[in-house]
Symmetry: D2
Subunit: 166 residues, 4 copies
């Protein structure tokens, strides 16, 4: 089911970077103590962390590494400049979630992604499988150390081109 070849450096953990199914990236996320708050559900800002993990792993699986971009004479990084998000239903401790990411734009300095987080296994049994918990539109840019937008490196553009939804 999983393809170890997607992450040859996974060292025995074939799913460590999630999976690419066509142009859809999927990443399993377990809800731990750290993710919840006293009201019993996942703290709202933590969905953004889950989402960022999937965006990073998507890039990793197509050969784009933060380390490569950042090390070198002209350090580059990705910076979010806008997000719009709906918190539809709450996740709870021990739930198994899946983040699903599609990149919908990668041109100039800009990357856009559409993401959702669904419930795979509801520990308390309250949530049906596949229920959408969170949805977001994410607008990011490639920036240099001074924070200026920088054209995506050619290698990044080429790696992303076939995967950008159209």
């Amino acid at each position: 089911m999983s393809d170890g070849a997607q992450d040859p450096a996974g060292h025995g953990w074939p799913d460590a970077s999630g999976r690419l199914d066509g142009n859809l990236h999927r990443l399993a996320i377990r809800v731990y103590y750290e993710d919840t708050d006293f009201s019993g559900v996942v703290y709202h800002a933590n969905y953004l962390k889950f989402a960022e993990r999937s965006r990073s792993d998507f890039l990793r699986l197509i050969g784009v590494h933060h380390t490569d971009l950042f090390d070198g004479d002209d350090p580059l990084a990705f910076a979010i400049h806008r997000m719009e998000m709906d918190f539809v239903k709450p996740a709870r401790i021990d739930d198994l979630l899946e983040v699903r990411t599609r990149y919908v734009k990668a041109s100039g300095a800009r990357i856009e992604a559409t993401q959702e987080i669904v419930c795979l296994v509801s520990a308390g049994g309250a949530m049906p499988e596949g229920e959408v918990l969170w949805r977001a539109q994410v607008y990011a840019a490639c920036i240099d150390q001074a924070g200026r937008p920088r054209r995506l490196p050619a290698a990044v553009r080429e790696a992303m081109a076939p995967l950008v939804a159209s």
Copy 2:
């Protein structure tokens, strides 16, 4: 400059809950190690934490306490259901920021807030005072333990009524 009477329980820390200036809540936030990431700036999801602190302290200063809402026969809490936000400029380690919050709606089960985070002191000197770093529209609801929207308690509506921007 600060008014201890705003937080009589502050025990010698008059600014522990920020300050209300008319209908504007202001809260100072220092950027610590925990808030930054390897790219050198504040991790994007952490602005949401800063913003939540100000929303909570605003309510605290007008006498609305999470503890009161949550304890009792019918536990209530606030849940965000939508956020739209712009990450305008990045904050960095040691910067002193200020979160500014206005509630613009409080009726039925719904609360809406307009928030921004500005730079007060740029540790590296790169950012002028008052520069806007982050802006958001926040749509929240009062919910019960089952996650159902619940009409704001009368005491909350009454406390908020004079402060909701119009």
Copy 3:
């Protein structure tokens, strides 16, 4: 390589709870943006989060669920009361780590664990595979809602007995 039967609820993600090899639990952890700080390495408190994920998943794989303990007439949870830890070497962005957990005591209200975090894949190439980055002794207790220590439920004691290192 992985055994789906260990997490029958994994729904296609056989490693979602890590793996039990005898009495050793192993969990892969990727270092994301959220885990690092401006100095370029993993923020020190985040190793505690990684460690907690492995302790929780260890219990999950032997059938002990936070949800079961916490829901019911007498809600129980695990609380750490002491930790001693050495931060040996720093992890960096994109590194693939492995948390390794052994429970060394489970009697009365008390659970003790020995944990370490090793580097599996160093993204920057600087760290040899298997290098120990962090080590800890963790002393926890089962507590009730008032924070009082409570004898481990029989089902928990029985599930842990064969796995406690001796």
Copy 4:
């Protein structure tokens, strides 16, 4: 009670870096949603964040800035290499805490601190004022970008000398 001169850059927030009382640093910490977990109390790793804020603010008040150390030809930062800590009692949402820090060593590359977190105001009323919630011994070192220990800069040693408890 507070001395604005301690943080001349505080811009109207005199307590933004806490206060030095002799060689004791005190910092007020409010417990927010983000700090708690589903069990109703502060998540254990977050006490380390609170403690780090006080260590950083202590240094800030005596003129030692992360930014100054890190920027320049030879970037330096502080890294924790060992911590021993007791989680004595749990803090809860809306509680007002105070972190208290004493540096007990600053020589060579090494800094040691003794820290505790006490409850100032218990939102639920369950905890007496001044109750100790958390205690730690913290062993840190000044390191360079390669992670090697580096002698504390003379300016840091001199600033700390009169404050190191003896």
